[in-house]
């Protein structure tokens, strides 16, 4: 490297770094989407967490081999960007060919080998990008803050770019778009190279763009054969009819005239009416949900009245109905069949609605075009919170989307928290009902948690005694909870009993229920459901929840993991039983967390310690930076940044009411403003003295803002949910900006200080930070599932404080040592 290069990275190179960083972050987001389609959400979580260790590995690599790299930064970044452009789509394509079945994990550790291989493959592009960025950081040491700022700002832009790509391209082409982005980065960096190298690199970048544009066909999605979509397509007579994609998922419709889908969860055993032909709808190859054949003008199919979810229609006269999560329109048809005066149908996924309304308008009897039906493509939670005016007589929520097997344990459910149910209760007319239908897992989990959540919502709304406002029935596989604003009258209670008896459904709870009334038709070894309901309504509720072997604490906005039931206290028993017919007790989705954490911890330890040992063997320098306190400081900084970020993304998912928009807006805001912070950190003063400014001040600010966030977020949530989407996004950015700006300062300042003390260890700190980020992201989710997101924010603030202490101590010790060596 030459001296001029050390002084100034130049705009072109900063732009290249930013673009490469954007591509790397875009890769993370797109992989999340793609892996959720081909496998499951938790698999994506597991694989990407580990793949991000590519960042940590780059630090180790640069520490050990960095000095041997002869290439100057410009061509190096250009080459790396080119390599990334090829590797990003290619590694995903190769990884898809590694046979892996996540569902087998409870039975055998055999798939772990494949898992490791997949993670290794997907880590490669991250490693390449991080090595280039890391080298730029090291070489332009005196402009470190600017390079880091470009890195962060670029990453923020990458989050937005990923969503753009998902809007523009089908999922299997998005990685090609990302590769093209990296090729542009390569072109920009190449402009810094000498003549021949410049033109060679530019030609290669152009060639890569052409190849990707032509579509090498690398991205073809190979969906796990155990997912519902491939299962449905394998059935004789199945025809893939249509598929549409967007940031919210890939929606596929499957027709089958020979063996039609008959989706009727909870249909009474005594039902006589046939289930009409249906078209199956899948989101991300999961599901299905259905569109039912219906002739306009004729009454809706009678079988819909024999589902547990039909109960509220037997308690109401010509209700005004709000259907939340309307999908293919089954619940809307059910409402029409149940005598609804009007139906407001809310569905977030626009492609589900579009397919139902456009392609299957005739098939479905134009269910969304019915004169009394009003369709809203919106987030159900936001719709409920934003509403004013007249109340609904019935709000019907379908929670049958998530499969009951625990595959969705890490997914957030924003519609069925205490806060959300309160908002729904508040939108009911004086005698209105809230009805929630979900799977009746065995042993009972989701049912008792839903009931506990509803009881909490009623109590906090001052609707008591809750027992008199609640009814709960179940079939062998579904359960329907009904909450009423006014006490359930004797007539209504009698109607519940009649409805259940006539369809061989079991009463779980009605006001005044006697023990002998439950568990009569779908007989369990014990009346588990009824006992749970009785205890949850009684004085020993806390003891019951504590003593239950599954986590059935009410879901809240702070802990919206409705489907995560795992309790560590009972892990040994569940694990021991998993092979003795107890496989259904295991939540594979949850287990991804500890498995990932262990992998991350082991890999991080190796990536942090092994290079250090290697360097020491080579006769590394003495210095303060080797001391554990330095490691601790940088590790805390990495952990804290990611934990704060993840917790905020979680909270803002509720506020922004759109999972991907929340991820992208909050992530981009965090990264861009952290970039601003980093830039500011470098500007304060000049050169090293400025860079080595204390991190105590920004950390104090972070702690104060975190405390304010914990106090204010619950109030802000409900208040903001009532406002327009634009306002909410603006508010999110404004709320994140100051915190993120401060969070961008400690790392470059600490790094600059380390650079002064022991420059050889700068790449190592980059690696430590990368590893800690990975561990932090996993830890944040693990803590949030059990303790809530506010706890994660508090823990992150504490870690920042610890980092400040560590950084301060590192400085003092070094000054002493420097002093003594001078003396």
């Amino acid at each position: 490297m030459n001296a001029a290069e050390q002084r100034a990275p130049g705009v072109l190179l900063l732009a290249a770094v930013a673009l490469l960083s954007a591509a790397a972050l875009g890769y993370e987001i797109l992989l999340t989407r793609l892996l959720a389609i081909v496998q499951w959400h938790h698999f994506a979580f597991m694989v990407i967490s580990i793949a991000l260790l590519g960042f940590g590995a780059s630090g180790a690599f640069l520490l050990v081999a960095g000095e041997r790299i002869r290439l100057s930064v410009g061509p190096f970044v250009a080459l790396a960007a080119l390599a990334f452009g090829v590797a990003a789509p290619a590694c995903f394509a190769i990884a898809q060919h590694v046979p892996f079945n996540v569902l087998e994990l409870p039975w055998s550790l055999r798939p772990l080998g494949s898992l490791f291989l997949i993670e290794l493959l997907l880590a490669l592009p991250f490693f390449i990008a991080a090595t280039a960025i890391g080298r730029a950081l090291i070489v332009f040491g005196s402009s470190l803050s600017r390079v880091y700022a470009a890195d962060l700002a670029g990453a923020g832009g990458g989050a937005l770019a990923a969503v753009g790509l998902l809007h523009l391209l089908p999922p299997d082409r998005t990685l090609d778009g990302l590769g093209a982005m990296a090729a542009v980065a390569a072109g920009l960096a190449a402009l810094r190279a000498a003549h021949i190298a410049r033109w060679t690199l530019l030609a290669n970048a152009a060639a890569l763009i052409v190849v990707l544009a032509v579509d090498p066909g690398w991205g073809e999605l190979r969906i796990s054969p155990f997912k519902p979509l491939p299962q449905a397509l394998r059935v004789t007579g199945a025809k893939p009819a249509e598929s549409r994609s967007g940031p919210l998922g890939l929606v596929s419709a499957v027709e089958n005239e020979k063996v039609p889908l008959r989706w009727a969860p909870g249909l009474s055993l005594l039902a006589r009416a046939p289930v009409p032909e249906q078209v199956a709808l899948f989101v991300d190859a999961d599901g299905p949900t259905a569109i039912v054949r219906h002739r306009p003008g004729s009454p809706p199919p009678a079988y819909l009245g024999d589902l547990t979810s039909a109960l509220p229609y037997h308690l109401l006269e010509r209700p005004r109905v709000l259907v939340l999560g309307a999908g293919g329109g089954i619940a809307v048809l059910q409402a029409l069949g149940g005598g609804a005066r009007s139906v407001d149908a809310v569905e977030l996924q626009p492609d589900l609605v579009a397919i139902t309304r456009d392609r299957y308008s005739g098939f479905s009897g134009d269910v969304y075009g019915h004169p009394t039906v009003k369709l809203h493509v919106a987030d159900p939670r936001a719709f409920v919170e934003a509403g004013r005016g007249e109340g609904f007589d019935l709000i019907a929520v379908d929670a049958l989307g998530a499969s009951p097997s625990g595959l969705h344990a890490l997914e957030e459910e924003r519609l069925l928290t205490v806060e959300s149910m309160r908002a729904m209760l508040a939108r009911l007319s004086p005698h209105g009902l809230l009805a929630v239908t979900g799977w009746a897992q065995l042993p009972p989990r989701g049912g008792p948690r839903g009931f506990a959540t509803l009881v909490d919502a009623l109590r906090t709304e001052g609707i008591e005694p809750a027992a008199r406002h609640l009814a709960w029935i179940r079939s062998w596989n579904t359960s329907t909870l009904v909450a009423s604003r006014s006490p359930l009258t004797e007539a209504r209670t009698a109607a519940v009993r009649d409805f259940a008896r006539a369809r061989a459904f079991d009463l779980v709870h009605v006001p005044g229920i006697e023990a002998g009334e439950s568990n009569r038709f779908n007989v369990l070894e014990r009346p588990w459901f009824h006992e749970a309901a009785a205890r949850l309504l009684g004085p020993e509720r806390e003891r019951f929840v504590r003593g239950y072997k599954f986590d059935i604490r009410p879901a809240t906005d702070d802990r919206p993991y409705l489907w995560s039931f795992f309790r560590w206290a009972h892990a040994p028993e569940v694990l021991a039983l998993s092979r003795e017919g107890g496989s259904g007790l295991l939540a594979v989705g949850y287990l991804a967390l500890p498995v990932t954490l262990v992998q991350a911890a082991v890999a991080s330890a190796a990536l942090i310690l092994v290079p250090l040992l290697l360097v020491r063997r080579r006769g590394g320098r003495s210095g303060t930076a080797r001391r554990p306190v330095t490691l601790g400081g940088f590790f805390c900084l990495g952990l804290a940044f990611l934990m704060m970020e993840i917790a905020f993304i979680g909270r803002f998912t509720v506020i922004l009411s759109h999972p991907l928009h929340a991820l992208v807006v909050v992530l981009a805001a965090f990264l861009v403003f952290a970039g601003v912070g980093s830039w500011l950190a470098g500007r304060r003063g000049t050169g090293d003295s400025g860079n080595s400014g204390s991190i105590t001040l920004p950390v104090a600010g972070i702690v104060a803002l975190a405390a304010a966030a914990i106090a204010a977020l619950p109030h802000l949530t409900s208040w903001l949910l009532g406002s327009s989407p634009g306002t909410r996004i603006a508010a999110a950015i404004v709320l994140v900006a100051p915190l993120a700006t401060l969070m961008g300062m400690p790392f470059p300042r600490a790094l600059a200080r380390l650079r002064r003390l022991d420059p050889a260890l700068v790449p190592w700190a980059w690696g430590v930070n990368g590893c800690a980020s990975v561990v932090g992201a996993v830890l944040a989710t693990l803590i949030a599932v059990h303790q809530g997101q506010a706890f994660v924010i508090a823990a992150a603030a504490l870690l920042y404080a610890a980092a400040a202490v560590a950084c301060g101590r590192m400085g003092r010790e070094s000054r002493n040592r420097e002093g003594s060596s001078r003396g």
């Binding site: 055998s108 491939p230 003593g547 496989s583």
Partner: protein, 304 residues
């Protein structure tokens, strides 16, 4: 009848190994099916045929014992060279595991021990002949296994429990929805005179049509099509078993259940059974439902 047929399987004389590739294997481009039967009937259904191939490398029993579960895991391919007889000890191990699990779960299932005739049937069915050859070595582990086409072969304990719950007598007419590998059908065919089974995935139906007669189960009628409507021509059935995923019990199946008959459905996801649904039709036609947790588990700590 079929008991004898099953016995004949284990004593079948040694025949050259035939390596054949089925169309699914061709699309995966990797696996090869080994068919030791050398039965010409098998050939017609496969697209590629390479006779001869590997010689019989059946290891002595001691070796199998030595390998154990971990060895079988790593050397699953090596296991595919073994003879039917070589698997007898593993099968007995599977039966022990079933008996053991049944005892442990008795409090939840109400089944203290599996009917000896069901156990004898499980002992006669060559489970390793129903799984893809590359995992043949795992066939007698007490766990579900993938069989291709996104399908699984159920955990032996669950197969035993479901079969027990059907309380079969030889004259019973039995309907199975979801043939899959054909293993459950074979177990049923060991116990009753006639089994009807319906599969909706064409390659699986074809495979079962070839496999079951080859293994001596001539008393199984296989149909490709929609199991929802049952098999009205052969109804009523004393026993119906629905191994395909169902969101509800198809009313036609309840209608085709004979008075006094039983219908059983394992409920859950691939590789994980949550519960067994047992529907009984009384002599008077009244239907009762029991939900059975196939595991010894009480959701509450203490106090019970």
């Amino acid at each position: 009848m079929s008991g004898d047929a099953g016995g004949a399987q284990t004593e079948r004389p040694a025949v050259p190994i035939v390596i054949i590739m089925d169309e699914d294997a061709a699309t995966r481009g990797a696996t090869v099916m080994i068919d030791r039967a050398g039965d010409d009937r098998a050939l017609g259904t496969f697209t590629t045929l390479r006779p001869g191939g590997r010689g019989r490398t059946g290891g002595p029993l001691g070796r199998r014992a030595f390998l154990g579960a971990a060895g079988a895991l790593a050397l699953g391919w090596a296991g595919s060279g073994w003879s039917d007889a070589d698997y007898a000890p593993a099968r007995r191990g599977m039966l022990d595991a079933i008996a053991d699990t049944t005892t442990r779960t008795a409090a939840s299932t109400g089944v203290g021990a599996i009917d000896p005739t069901v156990m004898a049937a499980l002992d006669r069915v060559l489970r390793h002949a129903f799984v893809p050859p590359e995992i043949e070595g795992l066939a007698y582990e007490n766990r579900p296994l993938p069989i291709g086409h996104g399908q699984t072969i159920s955990q032996p304990y669950i197969v035993a429990l479901m079969t027990h719950l059907l309380a079969l007598r030889p004259h019973h007419r039995v309907l199975e929805i979801g043939t899959g590998s054909g293993y459950q059908a074979a177990v049923l065919a060991e116990l009753v005179d006639r089994v009807h089974t319906i599969e909706i995935v064409p390659p699986l139906a074809r495979q079962a049509t070839e496999r079951l007669p080859r293994l001596g189960y001539g008393n199984v009628d296989i149909r490709l099509g929609d199991g929802y409507h049952g098999w009205p021509e052969a109804a009523p059935f004393e026993a119906i078993i629905v191994t395909a995923a169902a969101t509800h019990v198809p009313p036609p199946l309840v209608a085709q259940l004979a008075p006094g008959g039983a219908l059983v459905i394992p409920v859950g996801e691939p590789f994980s059974v949550q519960m067994l649904l047992l529907v009984r039709k009384g002599a008077d036609g009244e239907v009762t439902v029991r939900q059975i947790l196939p595991v010894r588990f009480v959701p509450l700590t203490g106090g019970h």
